[in-house]
């Protein structure tokens, strides 16, 4: 099983949202890491065939997904960034509706819906209207519907938004427990989600895939660029303004800054092992400033 993104581009008037992305994705969990406006959502929509690429094509098992049509959608599970729902439907009814859209038989749909609602912790509120749900509950419902048809290709756009830490751990465990014969692509700003569950990380910036690799391989990009500095008082503001500060911790009268920088920020700075968060800051702090 393979998903092949073959020179995918998407251009809107003057803006290039996806810029010549070529990826070969086999079974595994892929974390798509990028700042707002990097092109993650557009790329995911193209993979789901609800956004037309300006150039290139997406192939599933060597067949163009637009030609496969129903056959491809039958193996696809999608959770959009902004999850739409029907306020007056109950959670259970909503699952049954989507199950019927996914072509599940009546009996299996009931069974699967209840099972998934149990797994995401919504069993007790299954007969309550969705409009009464909190953000976290909605997100869990979204995750549940994406799993209805036991998809082989799962595309989850910011799936952990609105989830509290306990729910995020549960989500990570759920994704990790999915059988290894699935292709799971999820996007997030929350670096720890990627660190814990992604087999491979795709770093996306300005529509391009900057890096692809295992977390430990990716972080090598910023090896030698992460520093810990101990500063005092008014100096803190200067360093924060001048450098990319990933963490700031007060220790007595001193403040320990974790700085991501190509050059050594001060004589006494100590080089430390980089993390994925440092990589994110290194690549996306500029994008954040532009926005």
């Amino acid at each position: 099983m393979e998903l092949y993104l073959n020179h995918i581009s998407k251009v809107y008037d003057t803006k290039t949202a996806v810029d010549d992305v070529t990826l070969k994705l086999g079974p595994g969990i892929y974390g798509l890491l990028g700042a707002n406006g990097a092109g993650k959502t557009t790329l995911m929509r193209i993979i789901c065939d609800i956004q037309q690429a300006t150039g290139g094509r997406v192939e599933y098992d060597h067949e163009d997904i637009t030609g496969l049509g129903e056959e491809y959608r039958n193996v696809l599970g999608y959770l959009p960034q902004h999850f739409g729902y029907y306020p007056d439907f109950t959670a259970y009814k909503f699952m049954l509706y989507l199950a019927s859209l996914k072509g599940l038989s009546k009996g299996y749909a009931k069974e699967k819906s209840l099972q998934l609602l149990e797994e995401v912790g919504l069993m007790e509120v299954r007969n309550k209207k969705i409009k009464t749900f909190s953000g976290g509950m909605l997100q869990r419902l979204g995750i549940a519907q994406a799993l209805l048809n036991d998809p082989l290709v799962m595309v989850l756009d910011e799936p952990t938004v609105g989830l509290d830490p306990k729910e995020r751990v549960k989500f990570r465990n759920m994704i990790s427990s999915l059988s290894s014969d699935k292709i799971v692509i999820f996007s997030t700003h929350i670096v720890s989600d990627i660190e814990y569950i992604a087999d491979q990380i795709l770093v996306m910036k300005s529509g391009r895939i900057m890096h692809q690799g295992r977390p430990e391989e990716i972080t090598k990009e910023v090896e030698g660029k992460v520093w810990e500095c101990r500063v005092q008082g008014k100096e803190v503001d200067r360093y924060v303004a001048e450098y990319n500060v990933g963490n700031l911790k007060h220790e007595g009268s001193d403040t320990v800054l974790r700085i991501v920088s190509d050059e050594k920020p001060m004589e006494e700075a100590i080089q430390v092992a980089p993390t994925l968060e440092d990589l994110y800051l290194y690549y996306f702090e500029e994008a954040g400033e532009e926005q």
Binding site: C48, I50, G69, N74, H82, Y86, L96
Partner: protein, 361 residues
């Protein structure tokens, strides 16, 4: 797919505005019925006895009996004479004079006297255009139903505009279009559900009112020539032999196909529109503009307008045209708008499926 259709029907029916509209429609039907139909009847017989509602029908029918049959000049003169005698007895006695209301008025001049016209001059030599019978119930039915159907059209537009456009607004289109049946069967289900909704609403309203008519008045008025009907609408110009019963059948078919065709138009608008509001406005314009143009008396325009759902609902405007002759076979012009609306329904499946399938989120 039946489950999908069920869900789509449920989505239509869950909206509070749909139920509010249904209640308003039923309320309007009651108002029309109570104030213009059988409950509003009050008839006095020549002994001074007064009957109301259903009880008035037998008296009303009895008073009309002397004039039934092929309308002649003598019958007309008798109707006018008897009406004058009724007025002299009491105004109230003359108030519900079916024969006078249906026929007599056409034979009066400005001073209220017989204008000397003959029935052949007015209705033609063909006696099949002059068959007079007691058709009060049919008159009432054809009188208020067009207005009710006109309002029903607006109700359907409000109820069905969000069928597709709501999915775009809510963001549920992303989930639907990435599902196995989302790009084809879903659109078909939506249109099917919309048509079922329309057929049930229109069908029940028409059936209930038709049953009330038949229950209280029977069907003896069905053999009356439609050209003699002046109160329910202007049918005097219908240029071929047609009875009241045939007119009612055509009316029901015109109403049902008009409402179904309107449904097709509304769902097409909904599939294109980015918001339910745009779908609503577009559908409202398509429905209402022909009504505003209908006052222009160009025959070619009237023919074109008769293909529009709102004009089809009026019935009389459609039936006024001569029979259509095709390959030696003549048929009612009204069949053409009906067939067109059926084609619109079929087209709505094709168009909405195509538009929805290609929708980019």
């Amino acid at each position: 797919m039946s489950r999908l259709i069920g869900f789509e029907l449920e989505k239509i029916c869950r909206r509070k505005i749909v139920w509010a509209g249904l209640v308003a429609l039923i309320g309007l039907n009651l108002v029309f019925y109570i104030f213009t139909a059988m409950p509003s009847m009050g008839v006095m017989n020549d002994q001074g006895g007064y009957s109301k509602g259903a009880g008035a029908i037998a008296v009303d029918r009895e008073l009309t009996k002397p004039y039934e049959g092929v309308l002649t000049d003598d019958t007309v003169k008798q109707i006018l004479l008897d009406h004058q005698e009724k007025i002299e007895k009491t105004d109230f006695y003359a108030r519900m004079d079916y024969a006078y209301d249906s026929v007599g008025k056409l034979f009066l001049d400005e001073t209220g006297n017989y204008n000397g016209l003959s029935v052949k001059e007015l209705y033609g030599a063909d006696s099949s255009h002059r068959e007079f019978h007691y058709a009060r119930g049919e008159q009432q039915f054809l009188g208020y139903m067009p207005m009710l159907l006109l309002v029903m059209g607006y109700f359907l537009i409000v109820a069905l505009s969000p069928v597709f456009s709501d999915e775009y607004m809510r963001g549920t289109d992303a989930l639907i279009l990435t599902s196995k049946m989302g790009k084809k069967q879903c659109a078909i289900s939506k249109v099917t559900a919309s048509l079922i909704f329309t057929a049930v609403v229109a069908g029940v309203v028409i059936l209930v009112n038709w049953l009330l008519m038949v229950l209280f008045f029977g069907t003896e008025g069905w053999s009356m020539s439609i050209q003699l009907e002046m109160t329910a609408g202007d049918y005097s110009g219908v240029p071929y032999a047609m009875t009241m019963g045939q007119t009612i059948i055509y009316a029901v078919l015109l109403w049902m196909t008009a409402m179904c065709g309107l449904t097709g138009i509304v769902v097409i608008c909904s599939s294109f529109a980015k918001s339910s509001f745009m779908a609503l406005i577009t559908a409202l314009l398509i429905y209402t503009i022909p009504l505003t143009l209908s006052s222009l008396s160009f025959e070619w325009l009237q023919r074109i307008l008769s293909f529009m759902p709102v004009i089809m609902s009026t019935v009389g405007s459609v039936l006024q045209f001569p029979l259509v002759e095709l390959g030696g076979f003549a048929f009612n012009f009204g069949c053409l708008p009906m067939l067109t609306m059926v084609a619109v329904c079929i087209l709505s499946f094709v168009v909405t499926k195509r538009v929805f399938r290609r929708k980019m989120v």
